[in-house]
Symmetry: C2
Amino acid sequence: MDQDRVPQVLKMHKPDEDAQITIAGLHIDVLEGAFSWYIRSLDSVVSQDLERRIAHLDVAKGKGKITTMLLVDDYPGIRPSQIAEVLMRDRPATGRIIDPLVKAGHIRREISAEDQRAHGLFITQKGHELAQEVRQIIRDQEEEFFDFIAPEDRQDFMRMLKSAYLNVRKKLK
Amino acid sequence: MDQDRVPQVLKMHKPDEDAQITIAGLHIDVLEGAFSWYIRSLDSVVSQDLERRIAHLDVAKGKGKITTMLLVDDYPGIRPSQIAEVLMRDRPATGRIIDPLVKAGHIRREISAEDQRAHGLFITQKGHELAQEVRQIIRDQEEEFFDFIAPEDRQDFMRMLKSAYLNVRKKLK
DNA sequence: CACCAGTAGTTGCTTTGCGCAACTATATAG
DNA sequence: CTATATAGTTGCGCAAAGCAACTACTGGTG
């Protein structure tokens, strides 16, 4: 078999990986064929790795802080409820993500001019710098942590994940 | 490029899905190109869906209970530390997953004959029935929740996820 | 055979995560 | 003017996860 000509992503799967795999020497029953198992397991490892990378920053310890920082940096005046929708969290949860970022001086809350109930969120200079740092960390993780996927194969995996994500979001509405 | 040779899963993605996507009308910055974003988001939705499906069972509310039930059903006498390795949790966490299953009468703990420090875990009749029910729920979710992936495409996505999972696990050791 | 380092599992503590209900303030429809 | 809906906050409770300390047992070594 001409292993060398097989695209990298496919090469990663030797024929025997399609046979039953074992985790720590154990078969995992129906979970071996379950998308949910792999997605859930991957999440756990990826999140741990990311958490390690941001441990020294104010966005550490919390799942939505990175997304929030980037959104506020990109959309001055964005409202918490919009962030909540992206994060798929309820408003209380989102408020509690924003609180420490405001306290740390990365984000400013202002009462919206058009709607006195709503807040507009704005990045500060300090916050903008943090956002830049965060962007680089995300890019680093993508490169370093997912280094086992050959550069030309990333597109394929990415497209599949993106499609799954978009489809799954539709299910929620 | 010979598009016809491209695996089916890639066909799911129309060209315009490769353009910038928006979530709730917003662009998500570098996260749009980040594996971690999609993996983490998918996890959240998949886990919620699974949680809903098992809400009426004793394996509800907890991430490792399903895996534990299946492992104990398949490997009579298995030890908590082995389960911990599969779950990638520490032993205290694993013990706390097992506790309620023992209390509910699905699993029996026995002191191992060879090693008096260790416990062997055994399924009960009630537990075996629960395991069967759980297997069906997992299969149902795979079919119903991931119904947007064409049957012939599932293999490809599965292989990529499996490969990512196996590679990522290696990173931990 | 006494000692000691290592391992299995448990308990306690702390921090975070996350959904729900209740509350205040404002907006909007009738 | 009143009723209903929406934006955001606060309080609460429960589950998750990491860490340290503890008990109990093992297996190797002097």
